[in-house]
């Protein structure tokens, strides 16, 4: 008998298997429980979100009990209520056999807003928040991964701190799920607005999209682990390392201290945060492939990654050139930190940006608008879309010289179709149409012009910090109740993209529109008769 070859345990494969087993649980639960009478994609999504949020609340409650905080009981009760509601909703709902795109949009948006409601309740019933509008704003910051807050981080209980950071981490994980499982079906807005380039590449990671999702989530979890260790080694306590690992890799930006990363006064921590933020803004499928094939040249071959790094380098050099001081290690680090924080839409800050040169301020604002790479967890418009727009402008300029010219837009080896092009442009114009009235609303609600505009951009891109006030994180605090709600909506729209939100809202008004159309038609017919 030939001896069996020894079984080699491959660490990444083991992580993948563990992740697959972990994710099998909720999947089985969903298929078993979601077997009700009503065919409703919204019901299934909302129920699933509640069921996923309940354990987060339990973990946070446990941490708070262990730390003898004030919010343990509230979080536990809320966890129970949310879990039960989730199970009940799932129990009566069933995933529809056929799902039109419009319904998928509504389900997607409903899921995001369900998580907002749960997070609002968690904040509202905790000791940290006293009013509902503040709770909504804080919840939106948590769910959308924005570092905008009214609360002093030090005053929060451990339970709420953990809930907030875990919330940011989970919302970014949800983005991965959306990229792989939902966006290919939606085909608009969000991360698929590059014409499907990203989702196509993400789908190619494995034959089944479920396997791709597990791989990307495993990578996400592994990177969080690496950051946890790195922060710990650099001198943070375990809880602080955990919170910052969660909020760095998810490009969320919440911190345990009100001075953000700068409050630690550690050069090592700042550099770790910089690396973490750069990774958070990088495409996860790209990282996965490079690590899987141990081929780092993949990064160099990616046109989008080259543009992403190029933007960071150019912004740092320009910021330093426009600063009034001669560059030293401290200045360079500060510039790199701010630039990376803005482009990855994390929102950490290492120092007060009050003394930043005007030129650097405008560069940071533009970087916030651009955001990270596609298929990353970062917010913003995305580097790939910017590149496509650049190519589009070039084509139109050339067309003005050669009107009969037919030219296809190429990005690397991918060709961007006209429909995808229109989606990108539509998304940009929608974003502009949102920023202008919101800036007006913020300025009417107490911010000065500069602060209002920069905060509108910052909240839509899920960054958090802005300019124009004494402190970089003071904007949400300076707003009133209407401003808080508006900022929360901006953050949510920024996270789930403008197109899905508007399409879902359009769905609400569709019956009314149909009636109006019918009335007009009847009137026309009468006139003809």
């Amino acid at each position: 008998m030939t001896p069996r070859p020894p079984v080699r345990i491959n660490a990444p494969a083991l992580v993948l298997r563990v992740m697959a087993n972990i994710l099998q649980g909720p999947k089985i639960l969903l298929t078993k429980v979601a077997n009700g009478q009503i065919e409703s994609s919204v019901g299934v999504t909302v129920g699933a979100v509640c069921v996923v949020m309940a354990p987060v609340l339990f973990i946070s409650a446990a941490a708070d009990f262990w730390n003898r905080g004030d919010d343990g009981v509230e979080l536990l009760i809320l966890g129970l209520v949310v879990g039960l509601i989730g199970l009940a909703v799932l129990g009566v709902s069933r995933f529809p056999s056929g799902l039109p795109v419009a319904r998928l949009f509504v389900a997607f948006v409903a899921g995001a807003f369900a998580s907002l409601i749960v997070a609002t309740a968690a904040h509202y019933f905790s000791s940290a928040v006293t009013s509902l509008d503040v709770a909504v704003a804080e919840a939106a910051s948590t769910v959308s991964g924005t570092n905008a807050s009214v609360i002093q981080a030090e005053t929060l209980s451990l339970g709420i701190t953990l809930f907030r950071s875990l919330g940011q981490w989970l919302s970014a994980a949800a983005i991965i799920v959306v990229v792989v499982r939902i966006m290919p079906h939606l085909g608009v807005g969000g991360l698929d607005a590059d014409g499907g380039v990203v989702t196509r590449s993400a789908r190619r990671l494995a034959p089944k999209s479920g396997s791709t999702m597990i791989r990307l989530l495993a990578l996400y979890a592994a990177l969080t682990g690496v950051l946890l260790v790195a922060y710990g080694v650099a001198g943070m306590s375990f809880v602080e390392s955990l919170v910052h690992a969660f909020t760095t890799i998810s490009s969320g930006g919440f911190s345990t201290r009100s001075g953000s990363i700068g409050a630690f006064g550690s050069v090592a921590i700042e550099w770790i945060a910089i690396c973490g933020m750069v990774i958070a803004g990088t495409s996860l499928p790209l990282i996965f492939r490079a690590l899987q094939q141990k081929d780092m040249s993949r990064f160099g071959r990616s046109v989008e990654f080259r543009a992403y790094v190029g933007l960071i380098v150019a912004a740092v050099v320009t910021t330093l050139a426009w600063s009034s001081q001669w560059p030293n290690e401290s200045n360079v680090r500060e510039a790199v930190f701010s630039v990376v924080s803005a482009i990855s839409t994390t929102g950490f800050y290492s120092s007060e940006l009050r003394s930043t040169a005007y030129g650097a301020e405008s560069i940071l604002l533009i970087l916030m608008l651009i955001g990270g790479m596609s298929a990353s967890v970062a917010g913003g418009f995305k580097v790939i879309r910017l590149m496509v727009l650049g190519k589009y402008i070039r084509r139109e300029l050339r067309r003005s010289i050669h009107p009969a010219m037919v030219e296809k837009i190429h990005l690397g080896r991918s060709s961007i179709g006209d429909v995808a092009m229109s989606r990108i442009i539509g998304e940009l114009f929608l974003a502009i149409m949102i920023i202008l009235p919101m800036a007006m609303l913020f300025s009417a609600d107490g911010l000065n012009f500069k602060a209002a505009f920069s905060f509108a951009i910052s909240s839509l891109s899920n960054v958090g910090f802005a300019f124009g006030l004494d402190r970089t994180d003071q904007h949400l605090q300076a707003l009133g109740a209407i401003g808080h709600i508006a900022a929360a909506m901006m953050m949510m729209i920024g996270r789930i993209s403008a197109t899905p939100v508007f399409v879902a809202l359009g769905g609400i008004g569709e019956p009314a529109q149909r009636e109006i159309r019918r009335l007009r038609l009847r009137r026309k017919q009468k006139v003809i008769r």
Binding site: V188, S362, E396, L397, L436, M440, L441
Partner: protein, 497 residues
């Protein structure tokens, strides 16, 4: 003597001769007034005329005439006129030779109908120079194109491309089968509108000089005033009403005005762009009244809000008070007006209402397409369906326009300008508005920008007036033209050899 076959040179020459005439008229005004500056203006007219004549008579029209060449002709003539147009400011001594760039700034601001100024003390400037300043805007308003179109038959190149490149906006409606007739009708309408505004201003209490200069800059949507505090100097509600009417009229499409004259006011109602234009201005007016409620008295509020909604909505840039002191929310509304500007085919600058319509429809179409992925949804403006290629061109323009503002704003902030002033300054310059926000409000001047910053603003003003694409075509056609001249010279040498 063998003449060079370069169309842009010949067109530039013609434009310079027209500017020389304007300088001569201003010299006459200076002589009548007796306040000085006549010799400087006469000398300038002489220089401009001799330079223009040399260029005009020293060149001939290229045998090949394409749209790129037509665009290049307009762009080069703009450049020539803006540079030569600065000479009167230097020769009359109102700007010293050491600040020659400021003279060019004032000239570009005039010919592009921007209305941004570097002057702070208007009492020391001779009336002739102030008249010349207003005249530069009037000439720039309809564009020297109409003048050029009048001589185009002599030049021998088609004129409609030229009108399309000159008349701001995506379209230039044919009012007649013959381009010369179209130009003539627009010219008549422009002149008539100026006369009506001048007479109305005179009737409501302005002096003849003020009435004429303000009529020039109102109908041209320029915004230069012979007074530092602009229209606020008169503190007259009636004058403001006349100016508001003039600005609203000049900010609308002149082709539609002509049609309205022929077919009655119903012609306005048939155009969706007119509705959007009025909705935008009066919507922002309502918004301004609401925002300023409690900050200003009700009459003052209505009066100032209406004035600025019309002034910035038509991109004229006249001032009746200091809006910088208004609530920040009002500034966002003002910025929106500056960004969009007037209608296509008007003398106003900005992105144009028609383009706003297209991009709004475009975005809504994408939302509907997201909901119904297989639907074929055309972009409609009123009863007209916009072709995809035209929509693509409009979108390309808007993206480039916004990109230009962002690039300009970033560069200005890099030079140390406060971001609100920098970005609003960039919007104002590209949209040919005049005043901006922050330190460059309606009661201050553009000396608040550093010297290099003013240089950037000049480029933005010129690009904004030429609507970016012709500026690029100017470069392309020029490079192509230089190549052709070289090839011809090489052939000539070869044959001679």
């Amino acid at each position: 003597m063998r003449k060079l076959a370069i169309t842009p040179v010949r067109v530039s020459g013609a434009a310079l001769i027209a500017v020389a005439v304007a300088m001569l008229l201003s010299a006459i005004v200076a002589l009548v007034d007796g306040g000085g500056g006549a010799i400087g203006l006469l000398l300038s007219a002489l220089i401009a005329a001799s330079l223009g004549a040399t260029l005009f008579f020293g060149s001939r029209v290229s045998p090949s005439a394409d749209s790129a060449l037509a665009f290049a002709s307009v762009a080069w003539s703009w450049l020539a006129v803006s540079l030569v147009g600065a000479i009167p400011f230097l020769l009359t001594g109102v700007i010293t030779w050491g600040r020659f760039d400021d003279a060019i700034f004032e000239s570009i601001s005039g010919f592009t109908c921007t209305g941004s100024t570097i002057f702070s003390d208007f009492s020391v400037i001779p009336q002739g120079v102030l008249f010349y300043r207003s005249l530069t805007q009037w000439l720039g308003g309809m564009g020297l194109v109409v003048l050029a179109v009048a001589v185009l038959p002599a030049l021998g190149i088609g004129g409609l491309e030229l009108i399309a490149s000159e008349a701001p906006g995506p379209t230039a409606d044919r009012l007649s089968l013959r381009v010369r007739d179209t130009a003539r009708r627009l010219w008549i309408l422009y002149g008539a509108a100026t006369s009506v505004v001048a007479v109305a201003l005179f009737v409501v209490g302005m002096s003849a000089f003020d009435a004429v200069t303000h009529a020039f800059t109102t109908v041209a949507t320029g915004g230069f005033s012979p007074h530092a505090d602009s229209i606020a100097h008169f503190d007259s509600f009636l004058i403001e009403i006349v100016i508001i009417g003039g600005m609203l009229y000049a900010g609308a499409n002149f082709s539609i005005h002509w049609r309205a004259l022929k077919e009655g006011p119903g012609a306005y109602g048939r155009v969706s762009e007119v509705r959007w234009y009025l909705w935008l201005i009066f919507g922002c007016f309502g918004l301004l009244v609401w925002i300023n409620n409690g900050e200003l008295g009700w009459f003052e509020n209505v009066r100032e809000s209406l004035f600025y909604a019309a002034s910035l909505g038509s991109n004229t840039g006249f001032g009746s008070s200091n809006y910088v002191l208004w609530m920040p929310a009002a500034h966002v509304a003002l910025l929106l007006l500056m960004l969009v500007g007037g209608m296509s085919g008007s003398t106003a600058g900005g992105m144009k209402v028609l383009r706003l319509q297209v991009i709004v429809r475009y975005s809504l179409r994408e939302l509907r397409r997201a909901r119904h992925p297989n639907a074929v949804i055309p972009i409609r403006l009123g009863r007209t369906t916009i072709e995809e290629q035209v929509a693509a061109k409009v979108v390309g323009f808007v993206l480039l326009y916004l990109g230009l503002i962002v690039a300009g704003g970033i560069t200005l902030t890099g030079l140390g300008v406060e971001p609100v002033t920098a970005f609003s300054g960039a919007i104002s310059a590209v949209g040919n508005v005049g005043p901006a926000l922050g330190e460059a409000g309606p009661t201050s001047n553009f000396l608040s920008f550093p010297r290099s910053g003013r240089l950037i603003l000049m480029v933005l003003m010129a690009l904004g007036r030429l609507e970016v694409f012709p500026a690029m075509l100017m470069l392309v056609a020029s490079i192509r033209g230089v190549g052709q001249i070289r090839r011809r010279a090489a052939n000539h040498d070869f044959k001679a050899g």
